[in-house]
């Protein structure tokens, strides 16, 4: 077994050596370097395109998915080897994808064979970019209060309503969407539907955030017709799928939009000054040290959860805990970076500030979303209290 893994490591290393283009082995310079794929995606450079094509063909954008659906078919151990080899050469992720992080895992679990065959391979190859139609103006933390109407019209579903905070809906090809199929009940009246964003009646409008960027949209559905086979799972059975998908989402949200190229310690050394090897501002130094400890504790805990999962323990309930801890950690880091950089992190644009300075400012503002998106910190603390600790509302 270990020997097989070593063979796999050798082969993987050789393949990466031959197939990972040079520019894909350099650190990403910002969010713009993230490759999201999709029908209309414009690659910043040809090597990024090549890297995605090669990784997609191997199924290594989704290494552990079954090969019959385009995935890599790797075992957890093989995947660990692959990830460590990718890390070793500093390879950029070939694909950023909600399809891989969120939709794929639930399709594998809940979709019928036809749906899996139709959608999974395109996700793996980055051909279709997905967005998430969950929140609505009247259904934020109380997600199950969603009202987007989906009516059975015999040969199709008819969908009317509005979604909000749809990440990158303006670039997405398809949307996985929660809709109301029964108004007489709450959780049991929700279904999970896949909608082609080019369908007549779908409209998106970007929302400008405090960071200046527009990663989210409002999405409007007006008399949108979706073929009947585009419902995943049973009619009114969408809430279970919705929750499962949230679990994957929460595991994946950690530090979106932050300037991870620059380490807070380096930043502080540069701007605060060092005396006898220690940062001159002792108060800031202690807080950075505390943050660095939490960062290490978080990384160790993720590693521990993976080990426990591998040993057969059920760690799915930990997703909310990691979401809370990860969001807090990233926000603390961003705040410390802004503090450490002083007025260098208070620029907005123009030549007076470096690209890294601006990234620090914008990343800090973007990080405010970390404790809101994918379930607020408050909602996730509710989940930990109720599901993990067994504290109940009524007794």
């Amino acid at each position: 077994m270990t020997q097989d893994l070593e063979v796999f490591r050798t082969e993987t290393r050789a393949w990466l050596e031959a197939n990972c283009p040079p520019s894909m082995r350099t650190p990403m310079t910002g969010e713009d370097d993230a490759v999201w794929g999709g029908r209309n995606y414009e690659f910043k450079n040809q090597e990024a395109k090549l890297w995605l094509e090669r990784m997609g063909a191997k199924g290594w954008t989704a290494p552990t998915w079954p090969a019959e659906y385009g995935g890599g078919g790797l075992s957890a151990d093989e995947n660990r080897v692959l990830q460590s080899e990718l890390k070793k050469i500093g390879a950029r992720p070939a694909l950023f994808s909600f399809g891989i992080w969120m939709l794929g895992p639930v399709l594998l679990e809940y979709a019928n064979e036809e749906q899996k065959k139709e959608h999974l391979p395109k996700i793996v190859r980055g051909e279709i970019r997905w967005c998430q139609g969950y929140s609505e103006p009247g259904a934020g933390s109380d997600l199950a209060g969603l009202q987007t109407k989906c009516e059975d019209k015999g040969d199709h579903w008819l969908i009317n309503g509005q979604k909000v905070w749809t990440s990158y809906a303006n670039y997405a090809d398809w949307c996985f969407c929660l809709v109301r199929t029964d108004t007489s009940v709450k959780h049991e009246g929700i279904s999970f539907v896949l909608i082609d964003m080019t369908t007549k009646g779908v409209e998106t409008r970007p929302i400008k955030l405090i960071s200046g960027s527009s990663p989210f949209c409002e999405t409007f559905f007006t008399d949108v017709k979706a073929p009947k086979h585009q419902m995943v799972g049973r009619l009114n059975g969408g809430w279970e799928i919705a929750k499962r998908l949230l679990m994957y989402e929460r595991t994946n949200i950690s530090g979106f939009g932050s300037n991870t190229r620059v380490d807070v310690v380096d930043l502080a050394k540069k701007h605060v000054g060092v005396e006898g090897g220690a940062l001159e501002d002792r108060d800031l130094r202690a807080r950075i040290a505390s943050h660095k400890m939490t960062e290490r504790a978080y990384a160790l805990s993720v590693q521990r959860a993976q080990e426990e999962a591998k040993a057969g323990g059920n760690v799915s309930h930990m997703a909310s805990m990691f979401k809370v801890a990860g969001a807090t950690l990233n926000q603390d880091r961003c705040e410390l970076m802004v503090e450490a950089a002083g007025n260098r992190a208070l620029g907005w644009s123009g030549e007076g500030f470096s690209a890294d300075d601006i990234a620090t400012t914008r990343g800090w503002l973007r990080s405010k979303g970390n404790s809101i998106e994918g379930g607020t910190t408050e909602i996730n603390l509710n989940v930990v209290a109720k599901r993990v600790l067994g504290l109940r509302d009524t007794q």
Partner: protein, 358 residues
């Protein structure tokens, strides 16, 4: 690196857990305290040693079990759960580590088997002021005689063998040697300790300098952090049960979101700290090259966590948490002692920053 116990370690942990729950629950500490034993419970120590728990990290050639730090950490965690008052940490971990790392062959041969059997209680004497400062020592050693003064030596009042850190050297002193003066301290955690003065006491120099003192201290810190995680976990679980049963306003108070969120945050903090402590114990067993980092990480985080857990235990129990009758106070008092021993959160934050180069 691994976070999971192997079969031997798991078995030892279960043995310790069962024993402490049955023979040394918190009521035993309470009884010791009420009888003014100040941590003295030779019967309990004999039983603990009889289970082989005093020799967990001591190699078999010296009469121990040679099971390593992860195993001893698991035992200490269980002892922390019921606030077991015994020299387990001082002798089986700190004292034994000092002998293993700094003992000459002769010293190891003479003392390790006795420490492993529990016949001899060893401890380490480090600090000379109100705060942990291993680098500052006025201890002098001349012609085989030791002079100096140590404060708040853990289990110093019951120890037979004292390993004294003297800035850049270590000395082995028998507690009954002429010139060793002990002032027994009655401490908040009811465990007792001692201020010890050495007035030309006969002492043997051990091997190693400041780096070895650091290495010994790191083992003591990591082991103590394991005990602290145990105490924090138990404090949390007792509190959590209370939230599920205490009724006010016609419902259990665990139904109130303000309390749910506090509990959830504390739980998250505890889980993160537990990962650090498990990683630190594992780092000792695989002799990693960054043990110092792990030690400061584990001790700082465990200090913060047990601080929070013990405070929340009092507050969330309301009035009853303020009473001597309830165990919350015992957890609170022991928490502060373990926080301060071998460096608290601020000492280790400072050290961690230095180790990371800022």
């Amino acid at each position: 690196m691994t976070f999971t116990l192997n079969d031997d370690q798991r078995m030892l942990k279960d043995t310790a857990r069962d024993f402490f729950r049955e023979q040394a629950p918190v009521t035993r500490l309470r009884k010791q305290r009420d009888e003014k034993k100040n941590g003295r419970d030779p019967d309990l120590w004999r039983e603990i040693a009889g289970l082989g728990l005093a020799g967990v990290i001591i190699p078999e050639e010296y009469g121990g079990a040679g099971l390593g730090y992860v195993a001893l950490g698991a035992v200490l965690e269980e002892s922390g759960r019921t606030l077991v008052a015994s020299p387990l940490h001082s002798s089986a971990l700190a004292g034994a580590s000092a002998l293993l790392l700094a003992g000459t062959d002769a010293q190891k041969r003479e003392w390790l088997p006795k420490v492993a059997s529990g016949e001899v209680i060893a401890t380490i004497a480090i600090d000379e002021g109100a705060h942990h400062a291993p680098g500052k020592s006025k201890v002098k050693f001349e012609g085989g005689k030791l002079t100096g003064a140590k404060q708040y030596v853990a289990d110093g009042h019951v120890a037979d063998l004292i390993i004294v850190a003297g800035g850049d050297a270590l000395y082995l002193v028998k507690a009954d040697a002429a010139g060793v003066k002990r002032r027994e301290l009655v401490t908040a955690d009811s465990r007792g300790a001692a201020d010890i003065t050495f007035e030309g006491a006969a002492a043997e120099k051990m091997n190693g300098g400041a780096d070895v003192i650091d290495a010994i201290l790191d083992r003591a810190r990591i082991g103590l952090a394991a005990e602290m995680v145990g105490s924090a976990s138990e404090a949390f679980e007792i509190t959590s049960e209370y939230l599920k049963t205490r009724r006010q306003f016609g419902q259990v108070i665990g139904g109130f979101q303000a309390l749910q969120h506090r509990a959830a945050k504390l739980f998250t903090d505890m889980e993160l700290t537990r990962s650090c402590v498990l990683a630190a114990l594992d780092a000792l067993d695989r002799n990693a090259n960054n043990i110092a980092e792990y030690a400061s990480l584990a001790k700082a985080r465990a200090s913060e966590t047990v601080h929070l857990a013990s405070n929340e235990m009092v507050q969330l129990h309301g009035g009853i948490g303020m009473t001597d009758e309830h165990d919350a106070g015992l957890y609170l008092k022991r928490a502060r002692v373990t926080e301060a021993l071998y460096g608290g959160a601020s000492f280790h934050r400072d050290r961690y920053a230095s180790l990371l180069g800022f």
